[in-house]
């Protein structure tokens, strides 16, 4: 054992230095910069006193929460169906449903514009049918659709894997005790999927909180937190506010990831 340990220490020593320098120093810097604004007031207090910042925070949390709820509902229904039924072309359907995973946020934003933008599919069809052109790509609805686009496949895969791991005897036992399909779903299946739903839901929330590419591409008329950070830092050179907002966003996401990790016991991450 001691020999193995010595071996491990030799391997890891250079890493310790790297980690300290590259991982921790910038985070410490970020925390320090976030404390005081240019005019000397506490930045966090300043943020809470500025309606524009608060509105952005609220909008981001709202869109992320709504995305999470809708994703969980839709993905769970589809996942349960796909986990339980075998039909020709099932593999192809799963491949199509999970294909959006391959598109980064920018392309997803682009897809939303193709769907619901000024020359989009929804607009064309709605104009032909009702005479009125429906365009929602640049609104909160567009952002929501974009977030659903990359959230649903992730949650779908997680919940499907969990549903396939469920012991079928659990449902059979409940049925033998007299429970019909809806009761089995409510009392047995959904509670058993609980950890998977919590984990993928929290992950979905964290991803939606941090998504930048989609929002940026849609140039939406609602502002979200990552865009605000970008604007404050790059355009307004307001490092203190950008730092404080980053810490705030990091803390919220970190909380969601912690929930996800403790529910699933495995490694999960925010949006890249």
């Amino acid at each position: 054992m001691t020999q193995q340990s010595r071996f491990a220490v030799i391997l890891v020593l250079p890493l310790a230095i790297f980690v300290a320098a590259f991982f921790l120093l910038p985070m410490a810097q970020l925390a320090m910069r976030s404390l005081f604004s240019g005019d000397g007031t506490l930045t966090y207090a300043a943020i809470l006193a500025t309606p524009r910042y608060l509105a952005t925070l609220g909008a981001t949390l709202g869109v992320a929460a709504l995305t999470t709820i809708l994703t969980l509902v839709l993905a769970t229904v589809v996942a349960l169906f796909l986990a339980r039924t075998r039909f020709p072309g099932r593999g192809f359907v799963i491949a199509l449903l999970t294909f959006p995973l391959a598109f980064p946020g920018v392309v997803v934003g682009f897809l939303v514009i193709l769907l619901a933008g000024r020359q989009g599919l929804v607009g064309t069809v709605s104009q032909a049918v009702t005479g009125e052109k429906i365009v929602f790509a640049y609104s909160a609805a567009g952002l929501l659709v974009g977030y659903l686009y990359f959230s649903i496949p992730r949650v779908l895969l997680t919940v499907m894997a969990a549903a396939e791991k469920l012991d079928p005897a659990l449902e059979e036992a409940a049925r033998s005790l007299g429970a019909g399909p809806w009761r089995v779903l409510a009392h047995i299946v959904l509670p058993a999927l609980g950890p998977a739903l919590t984990a993928s839901g929290a992950l979905c929330f964290a991803t939606a909180m941090g998504a930048f590419g989609t929002a940026f591409t849609l140039a939406t008329n609602i502002d979200v937190l990552p865009m605000l950070i970008y604007t404050e830092f790059t355009l307004n050179a307001n490092v203190a506010v950008a730092s404080a907002l980053s810490i705030l966003l990091g803390a919220i996401t970190w909380l969601a990831l912690t929930i996800a990790r403790s529910a699933s016991g495995s490694g999960v991450a925010a949006a890249g």
Partner: protein, 344 residues
């Protein structure tokens, strides 16, 4: 909780992909009787149980009757059967007592009376103090006892057990086997116990149904099955069986190792089967059959002596008491009573 009679009539099962899991089989289970269905994996024993349970429907033409009433079209949730699974299948999101009370909850029994009834059943299974535990705080044996309590709490018409002891280790398996035995004797509930373990089938079945490749090989009491197996398959699947080849001429069974008197017609090729405990080792001189000892395993309560039956043939096994010692290579006589020889 006295049981009902169950009739299985021509129930076969062919799956959607055309595989036949079960040829049409028929049998009856008397009210209060314990039936063990015994067979190797893939013999259709679990499929038979699932058809009785209502988890699978039989192929067209098959019927399942509970006390004479046709229940074939009823799904399991309307048959009032108690089921116990190999994987325990306890609900992880409920406490022990909530698991046991679940059947009563589904039946609309209010919270207080249902928890009271569940507590009674737990007490009967000597689990009275475990009601508040989470499932993952229980050992395997305790889990299966909770599963039994859960199945019994709804006063089912029949108790169906699908290899309930297979996931447990040997010592625990024996304890719980005795416990289930006591339970079935006390409650006199009709039961069907599926297993691949012959000791379980022997102890728990009033009668045993031995199955082989989707069909019934034999139905009978444990003694019938052990002493009068209907086929070579049953003979070798239930207990250990020795096999001796030879020919019968004039009331004498002639083998490579010697001659035994038998009461059978002449046959150019005959195969005799006998149990290890029916083989008596005697001094070599003047013995009807003579062998060399290949090896001897001292097992504590008994010794298992392996006899060299010649090139290519499996060793013969004789179980003897634990006192005398046997050396490999030593010559020994072997005697088997004519009544202990089975020609199959």
């Amino acid at each position: 909780m006295t049981g009902i009679a169950i009739t299985v009539e021509a129930c076969g099962k062919t799956f959607a992909d055309g595989t036949r899991a079960l040829s049409p089989i028929s049998f009856e289970i008397g009210a209060g009787e314990s039936i063990a269905i015994l067979g190797p994996s893939g013999c259709g024993k679990t499929t038979a149980l699932r058809i009785i349970a209502g988890l699978e429907g039989p192929d067209p033409g098959g019927r399942v009757l509970f006390d004479g009433a046709d229940v074939t079209p009823l799904p399991i949730e309307r048959r009032n059967v108690g089921m116990v699974f190999q994987s325990y299948a306890l609900f992880p999101n409920m406490s022990v007592i909530e698991n046991v009370a679940y059947g009563l909850r589904v039946r609309g029994v209010p919270r207080q009376p249902r928890l009271g009834q569940a507590q009674e059943v737990l007490a009967m299974m000597r689990l009275a103090e475990f009601g508040g535990r989470r499932i993952d705080q229980l050992s395997g044996g305790q889990r299966q006892r909770v599963a039994l309590a859960r199945a019994l709490a709804v006063k089912p018409r029949v108790l169906l057990l699908d290899e309930p002891l297979t996931a447990l280790d040997a010592a625990l398996r024996e304890d719980l086997r005795a416990e289930i035995d006591g339970l079935l004797r006390t409650l006199r509930i009709s039961s069907v116990y599926v297993t691949h373990d012959q000791a379980e089938a022997m102890v728990l079945g009033d009668r045993i149904i031995v199955m082989e490749r989707g069909a019934i090989a034999q139905i009978g009491t444990p003694r019938d099955i052990y002493f009068r197996p209907a086929s070579r398959f049953v003979a070798s699947f239930v207990g250990t069986m020795n096999r001796l080849e030879g020919a019968i001429r004039g009331g004498v069974f002639e083998t490579r190792a010697g001659r035994l008197p038998v009461d059978r017609a002449d046959a150019a090729e005959a195969v005799a089967f006998f149990r290890p405990e029916a083989a008596r080792l005697t001094p070599a001189d003047g013995a009807p059959l003579r062998f060399r000892v290949a090896r001897c395993h001292f097992l504590g309560a008994a010794q298992r002596v392996y006899l060299d039956a010649g090139e290519g043939a499996p060793a013969l096994i004789a179980d003897t008491d634990n006192r005398r010692t046997w050396q490999p290579g030593q010559e020994t006589g072997l005697a088997v009573s004519a009544s202990d020889l089975l020609f199959l």
